[in-house]
Amino acid sequence: MAISLKDVEYLSHLARLELTPEELQRFAPQLEEILAYVEKLKTAPTEGVAATTHVLNLANVFREDKVQPSLPTEQVLANTSSREGLFFKVPKVIDSS
């Protein structure tokens, strides 16, 4: 599968991950090489085979609806480099979704 610079640019936007021009240049062929290697998977006989999302056959693991203590707000905010009062602070959000 051919990976263009534009593809990598799109992915870097989707991942909110700014790449330097050199990284963009480098990643396109590297990604292409890795994907070519991954092509091998296409030969695997997967017809009628179920997907494995969990190796253990676990199901129905719950917790009960009982309140546990929350984290003190000062600890909640202790790691951020940008806060205001009891809030985290970020550049203004204008529906960038």
Binding site: L56, L58, V61, D65, K66, V67, Q68, F87, P91, S97
Partner: protein, 478 residues
């Protein structure tokens, strides 16, 4: 040109569990910013979600209440997108294996199909600062359990969408799993609307967000239908997009900066195992399902002899149905069932509407007062007309109807002597009417009753006045 409008609604319902969906933080509304969070709901590195059993139970309850099938295998997925109110940069939600699917809601004579009911986590809240390039983030709401209820695009008019939402809310209130409060955001609604000149094709879908009340839903849809029609009329194309309803400007506005389409990269949440619900468990939830509006309406017809429309009106909201039944319970034997129903559906409803109240409880006029009021009418203390005044005054002053009657001296005159006196003077002053009556014109009596009422400033009991007038006229005749 004529277009077919196609509307579908997406409702997000916050569940009133004790704790959040994946952690033990309290699910109480209104705590101080960032005080109801823990490493799990903050999405701190290394933390893992564990499903709150009650969320699944409430979810099944809602699925069954909306006549959905409950999936035998329930899987959570990650919905990946970046937003500062979403601390993990993915929302744990459901994708192709939701909790419930293929249900319906009976809205009057129309069946609106419910595509799916799924569980997911709520996001935090953003506060946008005025005059500064900053938004503030409060994560308390992160991890509040949500059910997303998605309708099929079965509605053709904004009014239908409004009615569906009202009916849905009614059912959800009966199920008692949520506060269902649109203002507080425990019930939220997004609408999808498209217009098409041909019923076989769907037009471009526009999603409307920021609908914070029933009124907003109806108005935004009406606005959007007109807007899209205008675009199409001019030969333009409706852009597929998300638009925000502005309650003040009463219009929808497209969201800015849509450089790339969404790509949520859903994949099965590896941190949670699948869930299955056995027939027995479903049966257990079904066994404790409350009576839902449609069933209750049927019963009201059977048990209280109400007309079907009254029964439907009373049961649409659980609060009014409960109010009605409380009244009936307190009313003396010989049932005033129909009268009470009329009062609730007309005067009480009108008063709530005027006061902008959603909840009959907030009116401050408990069932025993309505029973008392109707009792005052039936025992002849006040007339039906006076009762309306008494009711409004009672609501206003938070007094009981009897107290109002006493304080305002509103009791009707039931003293035979006083009425007789007034009746005699009417007979004297209105010889023409007397003549007509004697000549066989029955309306003439009603005219004289009216005159009598005027004389007594409305205080005389109309029934008694009529009786005494007739007696006097017959007597003189004899």
């Amino acid at each position: 040109m004529n277009y077919t409008t196609v509307i579908g609604l997406e409702v997000h319902l916050q569940l009133k569990t004790a704790t959040k969906i994946f952690c033990g933080c309290s699910n109480r509304f209104g705590a101080a910013p960032n005080s109801q969070v823990c490493p799990v709901c903050l999405g701190f590195p290394g933390t893992l979600p564990v499903l709150n059993r009650q969320v699944l139970v409430s979810g099944i309850r809602v699925a069954l209440g909306l006549s959905c099938g409950v999936q035998p295998r329930i899987v959570f997925h990650r919905k990946n997108y970046f937003y500062p109110d979403l601390p993990k940069a993915y929302q744990i939600s459901q994708y192709d294996l939701p909790l419930g699917s293929n249900g319906f809601v009976q809205v009057g004579g129309q069946k609106v199909r419910v595509n799916r009911v799924h569980m997911e986590e709520d996001a935090g809240k953003l506060i946008h600062k005025e005059g500064e390039n900053a938004s503030l983030v409060d994560y308390n709401r992160c991890g509040v359990p949500l059910l997303e209820i998605v309708s099929e695009p079965d509605m053709r008019f904004p009014e239908e969408a409004h009615a569906y939402l009202k009916t849905l809310k009614g059912i959800l209130e009966y199920l008692d799993v949520s506060d269902c409060d649109m203002e507080k955001g425990s019930l939220r609604c997004d609408a999808n609307v498209s217009l098409t000149p041909d019923t076989k094709v769907f037009g471009s879908k526009v999603e409307i967000k920021n609908l914070n009340s029933f009124k907003a839903v109806a108005r935004a849809l009406a606005y959007e239908v007109q807007r899209q029609a205008a675009v199409l009329d001019e030969g333009g194309r409706v852009q597929q997009e998300t638009r925000l309803w502005d309650d003040v400007k009463e219009m929808t506005q497209g969201m800015r900066s849509k450089e790339f389409a969404h790509d949520y990269r859903y994949f099965p949440e590896p941190d949670l195992v699948p869930f299955s619900v056995s027939k027995e468990e479903i049966g257990a939830v079904r066994a404790v399902l409350p009576e839902l509006p449609a069933q209750k309406a049927d019963r009201f017809v059977r048990e209280y002899g109400l007309p079907a429309t009254d029964a439907a009106g009373l049961t649409a909201e659980k609060a009014s149905a409960d109010y009605y039944e409380e009244c009936v319970k307190r009313a003396p034997e010989g049932s005033q069932g129909k009268t009470l129903a009329n009062w609730i559906l007309s005067d009480v409803a009108r008063e709530m509407n005027e006061r902008g109240l959603d909840d009959i409880g907030a009116l401050g006029f408990p069932p025993e007062r309505l029973v008392e009021l109707v009792g005052l009418i039936q025992s002849g203390v006040i007339s039906g007309k006076m009762a309306k005044e008494v009711f409004i005054e009672a609501v206003e002053s938070r007094q009981s109807p009897s107290e109002v009657v006493k304080a305002k001296g509103l009791a009707q005159v039931t003293d035979r002597g006083a009425i007789q006196e007034a009746a005699l003077s009417v007979i004297q002053e209105q010889p023409r009417a007397v003549e007509d009556y004697r000549g066989g014109k029955a309306q003439a009596l009603m005219f004289m009753v009216g005159q009598l009422m005027r004389k007594t400033k409305g205080a005389a009991s109309p029934a008694l006045s009529q009786e005494i007038l007739r007696e006097l006229l017959e007597k003189k005749n004899a």
